[in-house]
Every structure is written in structure tokens, then in C-alpha cells.
Amino acid sequence: MDKEIKILKYGDLPKLIGRFNSRGFKVLAPVRSGTIVEINPVGSFEEIVLDALLTRQSAKKVAFPKVEKVLEFDILKKGVVQHPVDPEACPETLLFGVRPCDACGFKSLDSIFGDTPADQFYLKKKEKTTIISFACTTADEYCFCTSVGGGPGNTDGSDLQFTPISPEELLVEILTDKGKEAAALFGDLLTDASTGTDKSQHLADVKVVFDVKNVVDKATSSFNDTEFWLDQSLRCIGCGACAFVCPTCACFDLQDEQNTKKGVRLRLWDSCGFSLFTLHTSGHNPREVQSQRWRQRIMHKFSYMPEQFNGVGCVGCGRCSRACPADMNIKEHLTSIAAQ
């Protein structure tokens, strides 16, 4: 559909949230929890924090939680009885106030989980989720969305996008059918935007620092340059922080938690940064050292993803760099790859 543009008053946001709540939506939005801002369920607008640049974790957990039950089973004298978990059993959800990069991240996840065999646990949750993103008016030095084809006002993955155009007003872009349905819930709060309203002037300025095409080519061609990857990764301590805060990392592990009577099968986040990720039962590990694991992380996002689906597996949010205990700055690393 071609997008509609409307205007919404900041002051009407509480009403808006109220509408979704009363419609039985599970509303998820950035809220402060301790020292950090996280995407969590909210009861009222007051809890929502809109001025944070980014939440600590990405929005992926909405459709791809860190722990997800996929099966229950009973252990009987003879054999096991399975009780499948219904993927449909998830509430209508409004994801409110996330950044364009987060919304955009779902594109990668859609292509990964949508690929055959389609992953119903993810898809159903995603299907039932309406995303209202807020365009970025600020950015920091970790941001590089524009270098990977995104931007502070990028609308990919969003059903609706709000852009603050004045202290009182938000520019509302209705981008999808789902967005249209959602907008219907607060249509009365919307007024028409004067033609030619341009949101770009309100957006943060994020400089392009590398040509992503270069990164893709160079990464692919330097696969065997052990020294190069070693040099990049010496600092890496091999934790999973980058992968777990990443909006596009989709690797998971399946674990059974059981006692002698019953059990559950859980899907858990996993990370290619862990040495255990590729450890074989035999003791052999095809990615024996951290540099190989770091290479995998880069290659997956900038070589394999473009190869399998269209587009790189990175939205340039810079979360991994902010989260890294060792200050592995991906923006910096990608720049150096491109410059090779």
C-alpha cells in the first residue's frame, strides 16, 4: 500500500496507549528498569521512556524471547508422551516506541525464521505484533545505520512510524495494512498533515562511514586471511553479549529440562562467539579459536546473509559495540574491512 501521513499530538499518546490496552493488546515499550531502559510490558503511557537513544536489548525478544517453551512431555514406563505448545497462543501485541533500526532488524529475522521450514513460534508472534517505531532525532558515535542501508527515519519493518516534528506534534506515517488497522484505533486523534511536510529535517545526522558493498566483497574474499581476523579479534573474550543484544542474531539452542517424570523443551538464545557453539562430541571443534568465531560473526552478517537472502544481517544500531566488555567496536572493524 502507499503510505498515509498524519499528525498526532504528543498529548494524545496516553489515550493512544489506553486504546490498545483496552483492546486487550499486550503493549510493550521502552521502560526504565534500574539503571537501564528495556522493552517491557506497560500498563500506562506514564511508564514509557521515549527519550532514550536505544534500549539495552533489542526488540527481537518480542518474537524471539531468550527462553521459549516449544514442547512439554511426560516420561512414562514405556516411551514419552509429547504435549506440543501452540504457537498461536500468544497475545495481540503492540510494540511501541522502538527505533527504526530495531524495526528494521525484524526484516532479517523474518527472512531467517520465514525460510523453510518456517518457524511458527517466531512467525505467529511477529504476525500478531504491530510495530510503532519512533524516528531518531539523536544518535551517538556507535550508530552507523546509514552505512548499512538504514537510517534514522528508515521505515522498513515498521507498521507505523512517528517522527517528532515539534515539541507538540508527531508526524505519523501509516506504512502497512496492519498499521492501517492499528491507526483505526486512534484515527480520531489524527489530523491531516499539511502537504510537503518533510520529516528528514528533524532526523538525526548519521554519517556514512563505509561502503557496505566493499565490506561484503572484502569480508568474503579475506576468509582465509587468518592474520587479519586474529588481529581484529585478539581483544575478544568470547562472551555472547554482542549476539544477545543484537536485533538480527537468530542462533538458538534447544535444551530439555526434565526430571524422572516430565520435562520441557526450551529454545534459548545461543551465540557463535561461544567456544561450545561448534564443539563436537568427539572433542573436535571446527572453530577452535576465537578469531574464527569472530570471523563467523562478521561473515554471517556480511557474506552469508546477503548470499542467502537479500541484504546484510546488520542494521547498524551499534548495540554490540556498546555492550562489548572488551570494546570490540564493530563500526571500526567494518570500516577497516572495507578499507582493506
Partner: protein, 152 residues
């Protein structure tokens, strides 16, 4: 509503407390049936993680018992255990887990009566404390933490 019958696991060493509990039996001294013994070679063998497992799987109370100091069949296992428990109790307490739910004792092969007392007193104490909700609510059987669910 019927009275709360706590589940209590006893981790005991083979040489003193297990033998002591045998003596309780030989002497026909009665005690509460809530406590079930798991036999270890020595208190030194008892890993703090097995205590966590017991709680995780729904134990309301735990008894850890072995030879009196200087009486360890392996001469020092109980001394090492004692240090471990001094530290572990500290940690549990700091983490907000009721240390009252773990009863440590020295029961020798000659103390059949003491074993009965330890069991009965522990059962009494745990009944007063009630079910181990704190730990249980987080256990496997509990609903897996869907994202954000825990905030609701």
C-alpha cells in the same frame, strides 16, 4: 485443609550418620517419615550444588550430617565440608535464601537418639517455615519466563 508435610532430604556420610540412623532403627526409636536419606561416602563429598538441586526440585528442607570433628573416617572430609558450609551459608544468606532450611549436624554411629532428635526438630522447624516457595516458584515446573512475563 490437611497439615503441610514438608519434603526433607538428608545427605549423610556412610560412616557416622548413616550408621547412626541404622542404630536409631535398631533401637526402634521413632521419628518423622518426612526425611529421606541419601548416602554419601563422606560429608566432604557433598557438593553445594546437590543442595541447590534439592531445593530446585522442591525440597522444603535439607539435612546435612556426618562425623563429629576428628572422627571422620577419612580423617578430614568433615573439616573440609565444615569450611564449605561456612562459606555457602554466607552466600545463601546474602542471596536472600533462608539458611534455616538447611540443618547441619554431626551425628556419630553411636548417636541413634540424636539422629531422631535432629530429624524431628528439623521437621518441626520446616513446618513452621512452611513450603519453600521462594525457591520453588523459580523451578523448572514453574511457567517458563516468557519475555517480560515476570514483570506482570
Amino acid at each position: 485443609m490437611q497439615e503441610f508435610e514438608p519434603k526433607i532430604v538428608a545427605f549423610v556420610c556412610n560412616w557416622c550418620t548413616y550408621a547412626g540412623a541404622d542404630l536409631t532403627g535398631t533401637s526402634r526409636i521413632k521419628y518423622a517419615a518426612n526425611v529421606k536419606i541419601i548416602r554419601f561416602p563422606c560429608t566432604g563429598r557433598i557438593d553445594f550444588m546437590i543442595l541447590m538441586k534439592a531445593f530446585e526440585n522442591g525440597a522444603d528442607g535439607i539435612i546435612v550430617s556426618g562425623c563429629h570433628p576428628n572422627d571422620c573416617h577419612y580423617s578430614s572430609g568433615n573439616f573440609h565440608a565444615r569450611r564449605r558450609w561456612i562459606v555457602f551459608r554466607n552466600l545463601l544468606n546474602f542471596a536472600g535464601i533462608e539458611t534455616e532450611r538447611i540443618q547441619f549436624s554431626w551425628v556419630s554411629a553411636a548417636e541413634g537418639l540424636k539422629w531422631a532428635d535432629v530429624v524431628n526438630n528439623t521437621v518441626k522447624k520446616i513446618k513452621e517455615l512452611g513450603p519453600n516457595e521462594n525457591y520453588k516458584k523459580a523451578s523448572v515446573s514453574a511457567e517458563v519466563n516468557e519475555e517480560g512475563a515476570s514483570h506482570e
